[in-house]
């Protein structure tokens, strides 16, 4: 399963942006003034010009991109693995060594973007050459490929062998240095395109994208598509926009407000479970914890949405509303959520239940909606669908947000909650940190009794 899915995509999809970027990189590395320091490398009795060492490459990368050694090594290794650089000695492993191993830049002829996908016939010729040059010179995986290819294109095998002999003869006519270089170039090309087992292939791309364009009618080519796009653009032009300065200030405010609540930025108390193997943090912040932590209670003041998202926060808000005799608002809102996010089959029954309980004249828990919205809603109820209560729900949501919520935050109820909230002490550093604490398992949510799990996800459900 070598080049697999990529093979029939055509060169278009294979021109991944990263290849052109790598190519630009190696071209600038070869710049006579600004490029990597080149030297001639002596190999036995031959001298190969324009060679570079791993260290030279690293230094150049560090200097040019202002990166660390680790990153430079990583980047250099990628260049080698993609066949843009090849080692002159031991060309069997495409790695970037930091010793005196000489490397050269691959000729553009063999670049992944030029000569791709690799042709089977060429591979057969390459293997045949290797076989002829030295009996038993093929590696195990190459022998397998060789046999496979022999079976597959046995009818043209004579051609293969002939080509192989021709190329070997032509090579003999060259200077030893050139011969060596070309052999290394070719070997690198095949190491990239037919990697040995155990070496991940850099060619793998994943499933084909844009593969359906031929068959599909409803894509770029049609009138409908452009009509829709024009419509969307017209609407977008009429859109109200906010000044950048206002929007960007909001990020600053948001981040600074949330910073202390961000475990990765500020840590968490008593400790981050992943770091200390102690899951107390989760126990203390469980959805239905009896005593919420201080940070949690503070978060209820950030936005109305976050108060409602937290089951404990929502429960306290419900208590507060009960005291003000407006709890039906929150209950109505919850019922609307259940409708919107529930199963299609439940829609008629739910709509009816909501109407009976909250909207019908004389209903037990009648909600106060403005007359226009109420009229519209009642008309819509004639043909119930999951969004029929959206307007009413929004109205009640805004009512709570603008009126009840600010009062809640100023109430004694909330102030008491803040005062009683717990601030967990930081976990003391273990004396013997290398002794692993046993990691507690926890019951899977899927194990909870059916009735509990069927609840509309309420607080922690909102995306």
């Amino acid at each position: 399963m070598a080049a697999g899915p990529a093979s029939h995509g055509g060169l278009r999809r294979a021109q991944r942006p990263h290849l052109s970027k790598m190519e630009r990189m190696v071209v600038s590395m070869q710049d006579p003034d600004q490029g990597v320091k080149m030297r001639s490398q002596r190999l036995l009795i031959t001298v190969i010009p324009h060679a570079v060492t791993g260290n030279d490459i690293m230094e150049w990368l560090i200097h040019k991109y202002c990166i660390t050694e680790e990153e430079a090594l990583h980047l250099g290794t990628l260049l080698v693995r993609h066949g843009y650089l090849y080692p002159l000695r031991d060309p069997c492993h495409l790695e970037l060594r930091l010793d005196e191993t000489p490397y050269r830049f691959q000729t553009p002829y063999f670049w992944m973007s030029t000569l791709w996908p690799a042709a089977e016939l060429d591979y057969a010729i390459y293997l045949a050459k290797k076989n002829i040059r030295k009996r038993g010179g093929l590696f195990d995986h190459e022998k397998e490929h060789y046999d496979q290819l022999h079976r597959k294109i046995s009818h043209t095998w004579d051609l293969v062998v002939m080509q192989a002999r021709e190329q070997l003869w032509a090579a003999k006519q060259r200077r030893k240095g050139d011969r060596l270089v070309i052999a290394c170039q070719e070997q690198t090309y095949w190491l990239v395109n037919r990697p040995p087992p155990g070496v991940p292939s850099v060619l793998e791309q994943g499933p084909e994208r844009n593969s359906c364009t031929a068959g599909r009618v409803q894509m770029t080519k049609t009138v409908d598509f452009y009509r829709r796009e024009v419509e969307c653009l017209r609407k977008a032009l009429g859109r109200a926009r906010v000044k950048s300065s206002v929007c960007l200030e909001a990020y600053l405010k948001f981040s600074s407000q949330r910073g202390p609540h961000d475990p990765i930025m500020s840590g968490c108390l008593p400790s981050n479970p992943w770091v200390t193997d102690n899951d107390t943090y989760w126990a203390m912040n469980a959805p239905s914890a009896a005593v919420p932590t201080r940070l949690r209670v503070e978060q209820w003041a950030f936005s109305f949405r976050e108060l409602l998202e937290d089951p404990v926060g929502r429960a306290h808000f419900m208590d507060f509303l009960s005291k003000e005799f407006s709890a039906e608002n929150l209950s109505f809102w919850e019922a609307c959520e259940e409708l919107r996010h529930g199963g299609q089959a439940q829609v008629p029954a739910l709509v009816d239940a909501v109407y009976q309980q909250f909207l019908a004249p004389g209903a037990a828990r009648w909600v106060n909606i403005d007359s226009r919205t109420m009229e519209r809603t009642l008309v819509g109820l004639g043909r119930p669908h999951r969004h029929v209560l959206d307007d009413a729900q929004l109205h009640i949501y805004m009512l709570m947000k603008k009126d009840s919520y600010p009062r809640f935050l100023k109430s004694d109820l909330y102030k008491d909650l803040l005062a009683e909230a717990v601030v967990p002490p930081k976990t003391k550093r273990r004396v013997f940190p290398f002794m692993r604490k046993p990691r507690h398992s926890s019951p899977s949510p899927a194990l909870l009794p059916a009735s509990a799990s069927r609840e509309p996800s309420g607080g922690d459900g909102e995306a």
Binding site: R16, A236, A250, Y251, R258, I264, P273, S457
Partner: protein, 363 residues
């Protein structure tokens, strides 16, 4: 879908050029209110200190490339899917595998955990999205209870439950997104507008919970109204496929990661791109992005096997994490922000016949 007849004075070419000129006008309008850059505003903000994140868990068990993962709301369980069709549910805190199912197709590119924690959804080259209720009953075969929910005409690239277990949003290589009723498999709404494969989606954390964003091979990121199926906003500044989109925690912006090796931040109120996260030394595509809880950090997994951590406000790279030996295909921050999990295409050869692939949790 048959094309409607053309109206008088309307040709394909004229529509195309009208679209182009409208796009130009839109860019002009957007530029009018752009009075300052994010990094300028962020000059007042304190720089972040030394950043240390390490691998805290390595989850070994997939035999092939990990393509996607999602967290459970309990903050410790995850579901992951791979190229060979295996979908595994783990308690990543203890690293125990709790459930495993083999899909009848390969390349399971999408998986999601239900909000209740009682089911998972997944799909890929089978063009479908299927929901599996999670059961601990030894006598029950998970595959037997499988429910086929979504049907597309090309591969499934992304899926997500909405606010409950009963609705699923999907994105597909057929260029559309769709909203489905899980119980009946009914199509509730479809979203047309992308000009090529849709690769990713994310639901908005908004008060009214009505929109989501999608990104595709047409280089566009589009924001949709879930109720009407209309595209509300569209952004086209990337130079290549958009592999991943994720909302900023406030819901006022979203980030995208693309094959053009950049991640970008788009503000929905300003209606424009407001930041680009890129570096000359980063030349491989970003496959997957996610924000830390406060939105100050953006974690991005790349096809060059690394994870780069960006300071969202200042636009600079805070850290680079090396932990994988092949491309990072998926990255998600845990629901309470204590860690993030990355999955990749790498494998470590144990014996000649076994390959173990890793998912890692970092904190």
């Amino acid at each position: 879908m048959a094309t409607d007849g053309l109206h008088e004075n309307e040709t394909l070419a004229s529509l195309k050029s009208e679209a182009e000129s409208l796009k130009g006008k839109l860019e002009e309008e957007r530029a009018k209110l752009h009075d300052v850059e994010l990094h300028q505003v962020a000059e007042r903000v304190e720089a972040l200190g030394q950043f240390v994140m390490k691998t805290r868990r390595t989850l070994k068990g997939h035999g092939n490339k990990v393509l996607c993962m999602d967290w459970c709301k309990d903050k410790r369980r995850i579901v992951s899917s791979s190229q060979d069709g295996k979908v595994i549910v783990w308690d990543s805190f203890t690293t125990n595998k709790e459930h495993a199912v083999t899909m009848p197709c390969t390349w399971v590119m999408a998986c999601a955990y239900a909000p209740s924690g009682c089911a998972i959804a997944c799909g890929g080259l089978d063009n479908k999205c299927s929901v599996y209720p999670l059961t601990f009953d030894k006598n029950e075969n998970m595959a037997a209870k499988k429910k086929s929910v979504a049907m597309h005409t090309n591969y499934l690239s992304a899926c997500s439950f909405t606010n409950s277990d009963m609705q699923i949003l999907t994105a597909s290589g057929d260029g559309t997104c769709a909203l489905w009723d899980v119980e009946s498999g009914q199509l509730l709404q479809s979203f047309h507008g992308h000009g090529a494969d849709v690769l990713c989606l994310d639901l908005a954390p908004s008060e009214t919970g009505n929109t989501f964003v999608s990104g595709g091979c047409d280089k566009k990121a589009m924001v949709w109204d879930m109720r009407s199926g209309q595209c509300v906003q569209a952004f086209e500044t990337h130079e290549s496929d958009i592999n991943s989109v994720r909302y900023y925690p406030s819901g006022d912006a979203f980030a995208s990661g693309s094959d053009d090796a950049t991640c970008r931040l788009y503000d929905l109120r300003a209606d424009r791109e407001v930041a680009i996260y890129s570096k000359e030394s980063i030349i491989f595509g970003a496959s997957s992005v996610d924000f830390s809880l406060s939105g100050r950090l953006l974690f991005a997994g790349y096809n060059d096997y690394t994870i780069n951590v960006w300071d969202v406000l200042k636009g600079s790279r805070v850290s680079i994490l090396f932990g994988h030996e092949n491309r990072v295909s998926t990255l998600r921050v845990s629901p309470d922000g204590t860690a993030f999990c990355s999955g990749s295409w790498d494998h470590t050869l144990r014996t000649k016949n076994y390959l173990f692939v890793s998912l890692q949790v970092w904190a």
